[in-house]
Structure formats: structure tokens, C-alpha cells
Symmetry: C2
Subunit: 154 residues, 2 copies
């Protein structure tokens, strides 16, 4: 069991919860696909390869648990599906979810927190609202698709 899973076991123990094979496999499925944004059904299909008897309800129960534990992040990319991705432990709690969604190829890119430097402070000064978390989505065209678009229009 690697570091991530040992850490997970400790976190579970701290909550008085048990470490099950199912929980390990579900977390591994997401941890092994850091760039993907998976639906519950997709996670179910992946996990079934290693543990065919797992029930969809178990997947739902555990992605909810993992989300509560902040080990995975819940995403809404605007396509009508609820999706999940492994949380980046380097990111401070409450600072995730920055996606650029290409309207042409559907690719989902992430961008760094640093681009928002000063924005939360600006909001606080202007509106009095103190930001503790945020979720940002930008729709547009990725570098490649934008290039194609520009070429076609010229």
C-alpha cells in the first residue's frame, strides 16, 4: 500500500471508519487518473474491472465519503453530468476547480491559482464578501482550436 493509501487508512481510522478493498480501489481509480473528470458511472466501470462484484450504490456512497474527506473534488463542467477528480494535496483546502472548457474539442484544461492573485481581496474591498472557496469555469477555445478557427476565417 502506497503513501496515499496509508494516509487514507489513517484518515478513515480517525473517523472511526473501516478500510475496505472497495474504498481503496475507488480512490486508486481516481488517483491514477489525475487529469480526468469521471462520472459515478465511469468510476463504477473502472472499478468493476478489478472488483467485478461491486455495486453502483457502493460507488455512490464512497465518492460522497471521499468528497466529504476532501480527497476528491466534485465538478460540474456544464455538460449535465456530475464529475469527480482526485484532489491535489498541494493545493490549500478550499482552492480548487479552475477549468477551461474548449467549446470546439471539449477538452478540459486546468489553470493555476496564481492567475487570480488579488481578485479575492478586490472582491472583499468592493463588496465586503469574504471568499473562502471558489469554482471557476471558462468556456472558449483552446490554443489549438483557436488557431484552426483563425486560419479558417482568414
Amino acid at each position: 500500500m502506497n503513501d496515499r493509501m496509508e494516509q487514507f487508512t489513517l484518515l478513515l481510522k480517525a473517523r472511526g471508519l473501516k478500510t475496505t478493498k472497495q474504498r481503496l480501489i475507488i480512490l486508486e481509480a481516481l488517483a491514477g487518473r489525475p487529469q480526468e473528470h469521471l462520472t459515478a458511472e465511469e468510476i463504477y466501470d473502472i472499478v468493476k474491472e478489478e472488483w467485478p462484484n461491486i455495486g453502483l450504490a457502493t460507488v455512490y456512497r464512497n465518492i460522497q465519503l471521499l468528497s466529504d474527506m476532501h480527497l476528491i473534488d466534485k465538478l460540474n463542467l456544464g455538460d449535465g453530468y456530475v464529475r469527480y477528480e482526485i484532489a491535489d494535496p498541494r493545493e490549500e483546502s478550499g482552492h480548487h476547480h479552475h477549468h477551461m472548457i474548449c467549446l470546439s474539442c471539449g477538452k478540459v484544461l486546468a489553470f493555476g491559482e496564481d492567475l487570480l492573485d488579488g481578485l479575492e481581496e478586490k472582491i472583499r474591498k468592493t463588496t465586503g464578501f469574504v471568499v473562502s472557496d471558489h469554482e471557476l469555469k471558462f468556456y472558449g477555445y483552446c490554443r489549438e482550436c483557436e488557431q484552426k478557427r483563425t486560419e479558417n476565417n482568414s
Copy 2:
């Protein structure tokens, strides 16, 4: 029929669609509540007061239509419900959805586009991604709740 509804009628005609009492009432329900974020069910309940025989399916079909026509905006405030609000005609197409959600009182506040000045350009320069629309949510504490929190902790 006021300006908004006459405009709506023209837009429908341009699409070869008919103006029905139901459509007018649904749009009015949202137009008359510019600060609210209503679910399909809530819209249904409001509309039924004026047109008791309306079916829920008609509400769903028409909020989808209104959304396609950019007369209303679809929101996801993170509470598990899909919500709708009247679109602000002053805002340029593709620039809406800026909400601050108070984690204490649940209040949803809006903030202006101007706070994001330069951000899209910054993204383009840094990542090559050309932004054409965005949806931003900030979770935190509104001025009033933040004040109470600060008082209690001092």
C-alpha cells in the same frame, strides 16, 4: 404587452415559433423576479397561479427554449438544483453568472464584470486559451455574516 414581451414575440417569430400565453407567463415569472434563482418546479408553481392548467412538461420545454434564446441564464449554485434567472440584456452575450454564495445565510449575491477586467487577457497570454464565456462562483461569507463571525471570535 410591454417592451420585453414584444421583443420576445419578435424573436419567436424570427425563429418561426408561436407566441403562446404559457410562454409569456413563464418569461414574465422570471422577468419579474430579477434577483431570484428559480428551479423548474418553483417556476411551475408561480406560473400555475396565473394559468392553473399548465403542465410541468411545458415549463421544462420553455425554460429550455428561453435558455437557448439567451433570455434566461441557467445556473448551478452548487446546491444540487438547476436554477434559472432572467438574463440582463445590458450584459454582452456570453458574460453572465457571477455569484457569491454565503455559506452562513445562503444568500446569493451578484458581482460586476468589471472586477474581472484583464483576467481573460491574462489567461490568453499565459495559456493560449481564448475565453468567450465564463461562470464564476465564490463561496464565503457576506458582509453581515462575516461581521457576526468576527464578533463571536473576538
